[in-house]
Structures are given as structure tokens and as C-alpha cells.
């Protein structure tokens, strides 16, 4: 696992959103759970209507954002967003089914997960080992994963790499 600290501006993302327990229908890494279905819906949308998203910076880079709400610790429900970064947001021109998410800028710890690390409980390791080793504390508000060409898919997880971004307390 590689780690670095970065200062980054806010990200403007457009995509699809879900709130609830993403594992209600299927646990594990099943593509049939709500996160898998969210990704499927989003990828299908991109295939059929890419021209409606002409402000996309880089179509090959995808984001999955997890947003923790007040009830998350009580019920396990959270918000999950999947989408792409856009250079500018022209909200009025966005298709009805697409939502905008502004991910706050600031100081982030970026961890590069490789192979089986991606499907492990890296968040627990992060809280108990990695962040204490860096001498930083995370904000319990959100986190996001950045999928680029290094991520080969769940069926080729051993060859894959994934960056996770953790917001830090100042």
C-alpha cells in the first residue's frame, strides 16, 4: 500500500446516486447489490447518452463516493454516488436523471490499494494502522475511490490498482 498526502480543490462530479443499505439485497462484492446495480445503471446510461455529458473531463476515470449521514452509524445506511468529473457544471443542461455532487476540496490522504487489498477491510486498517502511522485524523463525512486505467475489473482484481481518498481533519 502506497500513501501520500495531497491538497486538492473541490471536485464537481455528475452521475447517479443511492441512499440506503447497499447490501440489503446481496452482500459481498456481488454485482447484484445496490452499488453494483448503481454502477450498471450508470455505465448503461453513459453508453446510451454520452453526448449529454459533454463537459466530462476524462471519461475513462470514474468515481465512487461514500457519504456518511447522521443515521449511518445507527442503521448502516449511507449515500453512494457513482460518476465522472466535469470541468464546469451547467446544471440546467443536465439530463433529469443525472445528479451533481460537489466533493469538498482540502487535505486528503490518498492510499493506493493493489490486488486483494481492494476487497479487504482496508478501511479498518486505515483507521487502526495507516492513518495513525501518518499522524493524521480522518473526517467521518465521506470518502471516495478513483477508478482509472489501472483498475482492470473485479474479475482481474489481482492485476488492479485503486486510489482511495480520505478527507483529513485540519
Amino acid at each position: 500500500m502506497k500513501a501520500r498526502l495531497v491538497e486538492m480543490p473541490a471536485l464537481w462530479l455528475v452521475g447517479f446516486d443511492f441512499f440506503g443499505d447497499p447490501f440489503r439485497s446481496h452482500g459481498g462484492w456481488s454485482a447484484e447489490n445496490e452499488i453494483g446495480r448503481l454502477w450498471q445503471r450508470w455505465m448503461n446510461y453513459l453508453e446510451t447518452a454520452p453526448s449529454s455529458l459533454d463537459a466530462v473531463k476524462e471519461m475513462a476515470v470514474m468515481y465512487e463516493v461514500h457519504i456518511y449521514h447522521p443515521e449511518t452509524l445507527q442503521t448502516g445506511e449511507l449515500e453512494v454516488f457513482t460518476g465522472v468529473e466535469v470541468a464546469q457544471v451547467q446544471v440546467m443542461e443536465l439530463p433529469l436523471e443525472v445528479v451533481v455532487k460537489r466533493v469538498p476540496g482540502g487535505r486528503y490522504a490518498v492510499f493506493t490499494l493493489t490486488g486483494e487489498e481492494i476487497v479487504s477491510d482496508w478501511l479498518w486498517q486505515l483507521d487502526t494502522e495507516w492513518l495513525p502511522a501518518l499522524g493524521v485524523q480522518r473526517l467521518a463525512t465521506h470518502s471516495f475511490q478513483r477508478y482509472d486505467a489501472r483498475f482492470k475489473g473485479m474479475d482481474r482484481i489481482a492485476e488492479s490498482e485503486l486510489d482511495v481518498y480520505i478527507p483529513l481533519a485540519s
Binding site: G27, S30, L73, S120, W124, L126
Partner: protein, 281 residues
């Protein structure tokens, strides 16, 4: 420690805190998992989200307390962490299909009414069976067999199978079926038909009965493992899978299809189909 043992520990933690204000975050912490990984793993191995399991078990134990004691409904609601009687009644009706007042007046608690606590044995059985439940319409069925009464559904129906063998001899080599029917009033005893599929001709001149079932919708799983674990399969069907569907049992019973072996086998590697009759709602 393997995930399945960790999730069994998480269940133990939940069971020990049904009357305390715990959340999913505390459950995850109790077994040293991140919240996200815990929710994913718990759902995968138990078939319930952690919060759903907590709420269903709270309702089950609250229902037992209501039936066994004279405590006021509001006191039982508060005991199991429901903030007000309305929330409690809504959750109670959703899980059990009764209002708490009505529940209290019933004569007995039926054998499949209250969700039991899951155990490590359940979770290991879940893994072995790798459930893939399906809902299927099947045409009318007709059976010929020997019927017996059992004091509980897990009792051994061996006498019925011995009777069937004696009456049929080599006349019908199988496949064999077991039809278990419970009482509508929730009494624990059941009737069990040890049978073969037949239109009725086989019954002529034999001390056997004919039983026909109309075309029905069935919820079907494959039980894997010895007969002694069959109760775990019923726990999965009635308390984990069915509550997550739009169906409820059409009547209190189920049909087992054993294939060429008559009756439930005690062999570790045995497998047979279990089907529950369903109706919408």
C-alpha cells in the same frame, strides 16, 4: 479469524444488547471491522443487513415478553428500544402481521412465528447450502403415501416411511416425497405424508392415502447436509428468505423432494429440495 466466526460473534453481541441502544457502528467495532466491510460481510453471510437482524430479533423477543408477561405494551416497547408505541406497533405488524394487543390474545406461539437467534451453526449451514432460492409455478400434484402424526416438525417420520415401504414393496421405486402440514392454529404438532407421485392407482388395495395439491406457487431451496440440520434450512426459509420477498406461506407446511432415497438422509453429503407453498402479500 474467518469472517463466518466474526459474524457469529457479531450476532452474539447483538443478542446480548437487544435491550440496549446499540447501532451498526458499535456492532462493527465489537468485531474489529470497518462499518462498510461489516455491513457487506454480515449481509453476505447471514442474509440480513445488521440493522434488519437487530430489529427482527428485538420484535421477536418483545413478542415473547408480551405473550409471557403482563407488562404494559409501552413498557415492552421501551425495553426493546422503540421510542413510542406507534413505532413499535408498526414494526410489530410489519414483522409478525399482528398488532401487539392481538398478539397477546392468541392461545399459543406457533413454532415458526418468532425468528430464533442465529448461531455459528446456522451460518456454517448457510455457507454449505449456498442458497439460491427460486419462486416457481408448478402444476397440480398428486401423491400416494402413508400419513403419520408427529409431535413436532423435526421429529423422525421413520414409521411412515417403513409403512410406505411395506405397502408398496417394489411397486414404486421413487422418486419419494415428504409433505408436512402444520395446524392453522400454530400448534407444534404436524402431519407428515411419506409418499410417491401417483394419480391414485397405487392406493388401490393398499393401506395408503391419496393427497392432491392444486397448481401452486412454490418457494424452493436445496437443503444440503444431514437430516439433523433440516431445522436450520426451515429457519432460513421462514425467517431470512421469505420476509425479504413479497410472499407469505399459503398454508403452514412444505413439500420435500428426496429423489430416489425415501426420507431425509443422515448422510453429511445428502441434498434434497424443499418447497414452501406461497401466496402474495
Amino acid at each position: 479469524m474467518a469472517d463466518v466466526e466474526s459474524m457469529a460473534r457479531a450476532v452474539d453481541f447483538i443478542e446480548a444488547h437487544l435491550q440496549e441502544p446499540i447501532g451498526v457502528g458499535e456492532m462493527a467495532l465489537a468485531v474489529s471491522y470497518s462499518l462498510y466491510h461489516f455491513c457487506r460481510t454480515f449481509s453476505r453471510l447471514t442474509g440480513h443487513t445488521p440493522y434488519d437482524y437487530l430489529m427482527r430479533r428485538r420484535i421477536a423477543e418483545a413478542a415473547r415478553t408480551l405473550w409471557q408477561t403482563d407488562h404494559k405494551i409501552i413498557d415492552v416497547a421501551l425495553m426493546y428500544q422503540f421510542n413510542n408505541p406507534e413505532t413499535f406497533s408498526r414494526a410489530f405488524k410489519r414483522v409478525l402481521g399482528w398488532q401487539p394487543q392481538q398478539w397477546r390474545r392468541q392461545a399459543r406461539i406457533g413454532p415458526r412465528q418468532l425468528m430464533p437467534p442465529l448461531t455459528l451453526t446456522h451460518l456454517r449451514h448457510w455457507q454449505r447450502c449456498a442458497w439460491r432460492p427460486v419462486v416457481e409455478q408448478r402444476p397440480a400434484l398428486s401423491f400416494v403415501g402413508a400419513m403419520t402424526w408427529l409431535p413436532a416438525e423435526t421429529a423422525d417420520p421413520a414409521p411412515a416411511w417403513a409403512w410406505l415401504r411395506r405397502e408398496l414393496g417394489d411397486a414404486a421405486p421413487g422418486p419419494f416425497y415428504g409433505l408436512t402440514c402444520g395446524a392453522a392454529d400454530g400448534a407444534p404438532d404436524v402431519t407428515c405424508l411419506a409418499a410417491v407421485a401417483d394419480s391414485g392407482a397405487l392406493a388401490a388395495g393398499r393401506a395408503l392415502v391419496v393427497k392432491s395439491l392444486p397448481p401452486l406457487t412454490w418457494g424452493i431451496v436445496t437443503h444440503r447436509g444431514p437430516a439433523g440440520d433440516f431445522g436450520l434450512t426451515l429457519d432460513y426459509l421462514y425467517h431470512t428468505w421469505l420476509p425479504q420477498t413479497d410472499y407469505r406461506p399459503a398454508w403452514p407446511g412444505y413439500l420435500e423432494s428426496y429423489g430416489p432415497t425415501p426420507g431425509r438422509s443422515a448422510a453429511e453429503e445428502s441434498a434434497w429440495e424443499v418447497a414452501v407453498p406461497l401466496v402474495r402479500g
